[in-house]
Amino acid sequence: MGVAVENALIQAKGLAFRFPKGTVALSDVDFSVVAGEFVSLVGPSGCGKSTLLRLVAGLIPATPGSLTVGGADPKASRGGEHRCGFVFQSPTLLPWRTVEANLTLPLELENVSRSRSREVAADWLSRVGLSEFAKSYPAQLSGGMRMRVSIARALASRPQILLMDEPFAALDDITRGRLQEELLALREREGFTTLFVTHNVSEAVFLSDRVLVLSARPGRVIGTISVPFGTRRDPDLRGEPDFAHLVRGATHLLREAGS
């Protein structure tokens, strides 16, 4: 571990984070993510997974040099080539805005012209299959639909990196499965790099190229599992013995991490 990868898009070296109140959330975290990769972070609750995502997004400051995005400080990536999109645990849509207006929000904030952001919104709505709901309000949508809007909103400003913080945790099994498959298809088409936080091991294995297992607080990477199933994955993969084997391995690691 701790190997510096030459062409890493996200690179953490000895990354630590302490909350202002003194709790150490992360200590000595090493990992790297190359462009186009889908990496999941699993770990016991409270291990600092969400904090890690916020550090990568530049929402909270990391010790200079310990974390780089595109070779620079995470905050510097905003609005630039290596920008991040963020999908939160809850859809966090603005209830007073229509679905379309929620999608155009990030573009408006970045001063993209109104007509252009409408085009982009319409395009993304069709990609997530919600075109007919453009004029609906979030309250009128199901939980799964709201999460689709939230994902489309994160992708609408064309980020190179998509950060997802347990986005499907609150959804029912069937919706979660469907959204996982949709996310894989989106990723195959759009080619963004993903850092995905979850506490669901089989979700992590199904989606990722690599699963990083974090220890209990203070979190650090205690194991990496490579998932050799390629980018195009069939839903039936979840029933394959190879898949079950990987999930079991990751679960064992996680169990050690929790103790």
Partner: protein, 257 residues
């Protein structure tokens, strides 16, 4: 019919109360300057309508202007307060001052500063009714979802954009609730203002009329003026309540609007 039904019991009680009052005054032969009978109050109200109607309108104008000032001032104050914790902690005690100071104590001061007349009346009404708007507005603007704030900063939003697209729209239901509380207070404020500064308006308002009729022991007119101010207060409260209901229904089910 179903919509009128809830109003029937209080209406029936009012009628009953007036009948009892009338009978009691008649039977006990209470002098009119102590407690006039309802009928004589109504008669006096009708005879003095040339005074009562303009007085009510004057007071209504003062209350409405005070209300408008409270809505605008409260909202802008909340916008300012929402900008930083240090602004809130250094100014909030003075905002609470508005809520806790006895209005009758500072009303004379206001008259000294602004002179007798409409301006002072509006200011008293404003001071009395701005706090609920301000405190609710601050609540609504600061209690936004922290994840939404993160989303905004991820896209390099300026604090102006955060205010316009997040804090202000989020605070609307809070401001509406504050306006409902403030609406009743505005009439009280206008009448108290007229006690002190009412001699300066072109048409005397209800507050001034109340003072005057009390001084002259014209108890019928006093009762009629008090009744008129009650009606005004009710009107303000109900009108604001309806406006609030309409606004919130649009927010709750924006799709149906």
């Amino acid at each position: 019919m179903k919509r009128i039904l809830p109003f029937l019991p209080p209406l029936a009680f009012l009628v009953l109360f007036l009948v009892a009052w009338q009978t009691a005054v008649r039977l006990l032969q209470v002098p009119a300057f102590l407690v006039p009978s309802p009928i004589s109050v109504f008669a006096e109200a009708w005879n003095s309508r040339a005074d009562l109607v303009p007085a009510s309108l004057t007071t209504l104008a003062g209350a409405l202007a005070g209300f408008a000032a409270a809505l605008v001032g409260g909202t802008f104050g909340a916008l300012l307060f929402s900008q930083a914790r240090w602004i809130r902690s250094s100014l909030y005690p003075y905002a609470i001052f508005l809520q806790t100071v006895p209005i009758v104590a500072i009303a004379p001061l206001i008259v000294i500063w602004c002179g007798p007349g409409f301006a002072s009346i509006v200011l008293v009404s404003f001071v009395l009714s701005v706090f609920p708007v301000l405190s609710n507005g601050v609540e609504g603007m600061t209690r936004v979802d922290p994840q939404l704030l993160e989303l905004f900063s991820l896209h390099n939003a300026s604090s102006g954009q955060i205010l316009l697209h997040l804090r202000l729209p989020h605070s609307v239901p809070y401001l509406v609730a504050g306006a409902k509380v403030a609406s009743g207070l505005t009439v009280i404020g206008a009448i108290v203002g007229e006690f002190f500064a009412g001699y300066g308006t072109r048409h005397p308002g209800l507050g001034y009329l109340i003072l005057q009729s009390a001084g002259q022991l014209r108890t019928e007119l006093l009762f009629a003026s008090v009744a008129a101010s009650t009606v005004l207060g009710l009107f303000m409260f109900l009108a604001t309540g309806l406006a609030a209901k309409w606004t919130l229904s649009r927010l709750d089910e924006p799709g149906s609007a």
